[in-house]
C-alpha cells in the first residue's frame, strides 16, 4: 500500500532532479548574476540595478524588442496559416495512416541536415546569383535579380517559417486526428456548409493544438539568434542576438539582465495562451 502510494513520487523524482539541476539552478544563477557588476574585463559579485537600468532605459532595447515582436507576429501568423492547412490536409484528405506517416516523414527529412549548413545554403539559393533568381530570370519573370530575397527581414521570416512550421503542424495534426468524424457528419446533416463546419466545428476543436503550436513558435522566435544573424546578414537585431553579442563581449551581467526580462515576457505570453486553453487536459 505504502509503496504504491510512494510510487508516483519515486517515478517523478528523476524528472524533478534533472529540471532542478539544469533548469531551476541555472535560471537562479542568471537572476543572481543579473545584479552583479562588470567592467570591460571582469564580472564581480555585487547588488546593483545598473544592468536593468541600462537595459530598460536604452532605446536600443526597445527597438530590438519591437523588432523581435515583429518577427514573432509575422512568423506566428504565417506558420499558423501554413501549419493549419498542412495539418488539415494530412488529417482529413489523406486517408491511410501509412500515407500520413510517409508524408510526415517527407516533411521532417530536411530537418535532419545540420541547421548551420542549411543556413549557409540559403545564400546560394536566395542570393543575387542564386538558384531562385536564376530560375526566375530564366523563366523571364524578372530581368533584374531580386535583391530583397537575401539579407533582409524577408529572408529572416522565410528561414524562420521554414524552421518552425513543423512545430505548428504536429500539434494541430494531433488534435485534428482526435476530432470525432461523426461530429463533422452531424454538422453536414444539419445543413452546414464547408466553411461553417470549418469555423464552427473544426477550428474550435483544434484550439489546443493551435495553442501548443503557438507556444512553440512564439518561444522559438523570441529566443532565436542564429537565424536572425545569418539571414539578415548581421543587419537586424533580435533579443537573442543582443544577448549573444553581450555574452560574446563577456558582459554577462548585462546579458543576464536581458535574459531575465526576456524570460518574464515569454512567460507572460505563454501564460496568456495557457489561460485560453488547458493543454494538459486536451493532450
Amino acid at each position: 500500500m505504502t509503496l504504491s502510494r510512494l510510487a508516483p513520487y519515486l517515478q517523478a523524482t528523476p524528472l524533478t532532479l534533472i529540471l532542478a539541476a539544469f533548469l531551476v539552478l541555472p535560471i537562479a544563477t542568471i537572476v543572481m548574476v543579473s545584479f552583479w557588476d562588470y567592467d570591460s574585463i571582469q564580472i564581480f559579485p555585487a547588488f546593483v540595478f545598473t544592468n536593468y537600468e541600462e537595459t530598460i532605459t536604452s532605446p536600443v532595447t526597445w527597438n530590438t524588442y519591437i523588432n523581435t515582436f515583429k518577427y514573432t507576429v509575422i512568423v506566428w501568423a504565417v506558420t499558423l496559416f501554413v501549419g493549419f492547412w498542412v495539418a488539415y490536409y494530412l488529417a482529413f484528405h489523406i486517408r491511410s495512416t501509412t500515407m500520413q506517416m510517409v508524408l510526415f516523414l517527407v516533411c521532417t527529412i530536411p530537418f535532419l541536415t545540420s541547421n548551420i549548413i542549411r543556413m549557409i545554403s540559403w545564400i546560394p539559393f536566395l542570393g543575387r546569383n542564386g538558384l531562385l533568381n536564376q530560375t526566375l530570370m530564366g523563366m523571364g519573370v524578372i530581368n533584374q535579380p531580386l535583391e530583397f530575397l537575401l539579407f533582409s527581414d524577408f529572408a529572416v521570416v522565410l528561414a524562420m517559417v521554414h524552421l518552425y512550421t513543423l512545430f505548428m503542424v504536429t500539434p494541430i495534426f494531433n488534435t485534428l486526428m482526435r476530432i470525432d468524424r461523426a461530429l463533422v457528419e452531424a454538422a453536414r446533416d444539419a445543413g452546414a456548409n464547408g466553411w461553417q463546419i470549418l469555423t464552427n466545428v473544426i477550428i474550435p476543436l483544434a484550439k489546443p493544438g493551435i495553442a501548443i503550436g503557438s507556444i512553440f513558435v512564439v518561444t522559438l522566435v523570441m529566443g532565436d539568434f542564429i537565424t536572425v544573424r545569418f539571414m539578415s546578414g548581421g543587419q537586424s537585431a533580435s533579443v537573442g542576438l543582443m544577448m549573444a553579442n553581450q555574452i560574446a563581449l563577456l558582459q554577462y551581467p548585462a546579458a543576464a539582465a536581458n535574459a531575465v526580462i526576456l524570460l518574464i515576457i515569454v512567460l507572460l505570453l505563454v501564460g496568456g495562451i495557457l489561460r485560453i486553453v488547458n493543454i494538459r487536459k486536451e493532450l
Partner: protein, 276 residues
C-alpha cells in the same frame, strides 16, 4: 469532405502541400547539388564543374582545421545518451502523472517552462552555474543536462498523449488475472506503448544531435558536431561542408528507417501475440 469524390478543396490543398514540401526541400536541394562541386568550386553558385571530390575529401583526407570524426562521435554518443535518458525519465514521469501526487501541478508547469525558456538562456545559465560552482563543463555533463531540458518536455508531452488514450481496462484485466503490478507493466503496458517510446527516443536523439544554442556555452573542451561545423566556418570555405551536410542527412535518414522498421516489427509482433 470525406465523401467519395475528391472535391476542389482537395486539389487546392494538394497543390498547397506540394508547394510546402518544395519549400522545405529548397535548401536541402542546394546543399545536395553543391556538394557535387568540382575541386575548385565554392559554397555558392555557379557550379565549377562537378565531382565527388568533396565526399572523398570529407571521408578520406584530413581537413585543415577541426576534427569531424571526433565531433561526430561525440554528438552521436551524446545523442544516444540523451535518447535513453529521455525515454526512461519521461516514461517514469508519464507513469507518475497517471495518478495524483503532491506537487504534480508545479512539476508540470516546470516542465512546460523548460520547453519555453529560450535555448540561449539555458546555455548561459548552465555555463554560469558551472562557473559559479567551480565545475568544469563538458559535453557529457553540462551539455547533456542542457539537452535534457529540451528533450524531456517533448518526451513528457508525448507520454501524456499516450496515457490519456490508454485504456486502463487492459491493466485491470491483467490484475484480475493475478498479475503483480510489475508483471502488468512489463507484459501489458510496456508492449502497448513501446512504439510511442521508440518515437520518444527518436525525438530525443534528433533534437540533441542538431542542438546548437544549448551546447554553445556548455560543451567544455571539445566540440559537438554542430559546434564543430560552426567553428569550421571560421576557416573552411569549401563544399566539404555541404558534403558533410549530405552525408549526415543520409545518416539520420538511415536511423529513422531503422526506427521505423523497429516500430513495424514491434507492431507485427504484438499483433501476432494478440492473435495467438
Amino acid at each position: 469532405m470525406n465523401s467519395e469524390k475528391r472535391g476542389l478543396g482537395f486539389y487546392i490543398l494538394t497543390a498547397f502541400f506540394a508547394l510546402f514540401v518544395l519549400f522545405l526541400y529548397g535548401p536541402l536541394t542546394t546543399i545536395f547539388i553543391l556538394s557535387f562541386q568540382g575541386p575548385n568550386g565554392g559554397l555558392t553558385f555557379p557550379m565549377n564543374g562537378s565531382s565527388v571530390h568533396w565526399f572523398k575529401n570529407l571521408l578520406f583526407e584530413q581537413q585543415a582545421v577541426g576534427d569531424f570524426g571526433g565531433a561526430f562521435s561525440r554528438s552521436l554518443i551524446l545523442g544516444l545518451m540523451t535518447m535513453m535518458a529521455t525515454v526512461v525519465v519521461s516514461l517514469l514521469a508519464g507513469l507518475a502523472f497517471r495518478r495524483r501526487f503532491l506537487g504534480s501541478g508545479p512539476l508540470f508547469y516546470l516542465t512546460i517552462a523548460s520547453l519555453i525558456v529560450p535555448s540561449i538562456l539555458i546555455s548561459l545559465g548552465i555555463g554560469l552555474a558551472f562557473q559559479v560552482f567551480g565545475l568544469s563543463p563538458a559535453w557529457y555533463s553540462s551539455a547533456f543536462g542542457a539537452h535534457l531540458t529540451w528533450t524531456l518536455p517533448f518526451g513528457l508531452l508525448i507520454m501524456f498523449a499516450v496515457f490519456n488514450r490508454f485504456n486502463p481496462a487492459y491493466e485491470e484485466a491483467a490484475r484480475d488475472l493475478g498479475a503483480t503490478s510489475w508483471q502488468t507493466f512489463a507484459h501489458v503496458v510496456l508492449p502497448i506503448i513501446l512504439p510511442s517510446l521508440v518515437g520518444v527516443g527518436l525525438f530525443g536523439f534528433t533534437l540533441s544531435y542538431d542542438e546548437f544554442a544549448r551546447t554553445l556555452m556548455t560543451a567544455g573542451t571539445f566540440n559537438t558536431l554542430p559546434l564543430e561545423i560552426y567553428g569550421m566556418t571560421t576557416n573552411v570555405t569549401t563544399p566539404v561542408l555541404y558534403a558533410l551536410g549530405t552525408v549526415t542527412t543520409l545518416f539520420s535518414m538511415g536511423i529513422i528507417v531503422v526506427a521505423l522498421v523497429a516500430i513495424a516489427v514491434l507492431r507485427k509482433r504484438r499483433a501476432r501475440k494478440v492473435a495467438g
